[in-house]
């Protein structure tokens, strides 16, 4: 825990592995949210613009 973290270095991109994992996890979560079926998704009455 007290040791310095490792970094991912690719060209001009330099990011710590923990930060990279968080961003990758967010992208995966976003993709799952787009395709995962939503329960009780019936048609509603609220049609405001």
């Amino acid at each position: 825990m007290d040791s310095p973290t490792t970094y991912f270095h690719w060209g001009f991109i330099l990011i710590s592995v923990p930060n990279l994992l968080v961003i990758a996890g967010m992208i995966v979560l976003f993709a799952i949210a787009l395709v995962a079926p939503f329960p009780h998704g019936g048609e509603g009455e609220d049609e405001r613009r």
């Binding site: 967010m26 976003f30 949210a33 787009l34 019936g42 509603g44 049609e47 405001r48 613009r49």
Partner: protein, 212 residues
């Protein structure tokens, strides 16, 4: 005057005008709707709600930390638990705020008169970063000292060092627990009320029609 007689409404009264404006722009069925449009049936719309839930935990744990003080949150096991609760709910707040931002960006959530709602969301993001930054400076440990000593040059370089002194714990702590959280909370309430007033934006090209 007889108590049973109806009191005539004074149209010139500002309370009547405010009440009518609220009824017109934000009726209760908009503020607390029973059903949502069919296109809201997606997990993408849950990101904003999770962000609010995380903010509630941030504020609740923050109130406890402010009440008990640095000695408590460093030395006692319960204090360290609340310290961690505060830290990790902030992480979730930012993660889900950014996921909410991605969702609104790709569905162009600023359409049909919602530009101000989007703009306030952007301001919330900025003020939240400042709140988190002052929070890192308020930890009262070597980490906060390291951040403060390194950040002071950036603040001076940006020209704000004269009135935003990151080495001044009292100033950073005061901003973190009072001014900035109140700002974030007021803006979030305003953001939610504006979303409820206009409803959720329709998807782009929902049924194969032309874009609007």
């Amino acid at each position: 005057m007889n108590a049973a007689e109806p009191v005539p409404e004074q149209a010139a009264s500002w309370t009547v005008r405010v009440r009518r404006a609220i009824d017109r722009h934000l009726p209760m069925d908009h503020l607390l709707p029973v059903r949502q449009p069919y296109y809201v049936g997606s997990w993408v719309y849950v990101f904003g709600v999770i962000t609010i839930a995380a903010l509630v935990w941030v504020v609740v744990s923050g109130v406890v930390l402010a009440f008990m003080g640095p000695q408590w949150w460093h030395d006692s096991s319960v204090g360290r638990f609340f310290n961690s609760l505060h830290f990790w709910s902030v992480q979730l707040f930012f993660i889900f705020m950014v996921l909410h931002l991605w969702g609104q960006y790709f569905m162009a959530g600023w359409r049909h008169g919602r530009a101000a709602t989007w703009a306030i969301g952007v301001v919330i993001f900025g003020v939240s970063i400042l709140t988190a930054f002052t929070g890192y400076l308020s930890q009262q440990n070597f980490d906060s000292q390291f951040i403060a000593v390194n950040a002071k040059d950036a603040m001076n370089g940006a020209g704000v060092g004269a009135f935003f002194n990151v080495l001044n714990f009292g100033q950073m702590y005061g901003l973190h627990i009072m001014l900035l959280p109140i700002g974030v909370t007021i803006l979030v309430v305003l953001h939610i009320v504006m979303v409820r007033a206009r409803g959720v934006v329709k998807p782009i090209d929902p049924e194969g029609g032309t874009r609007s």
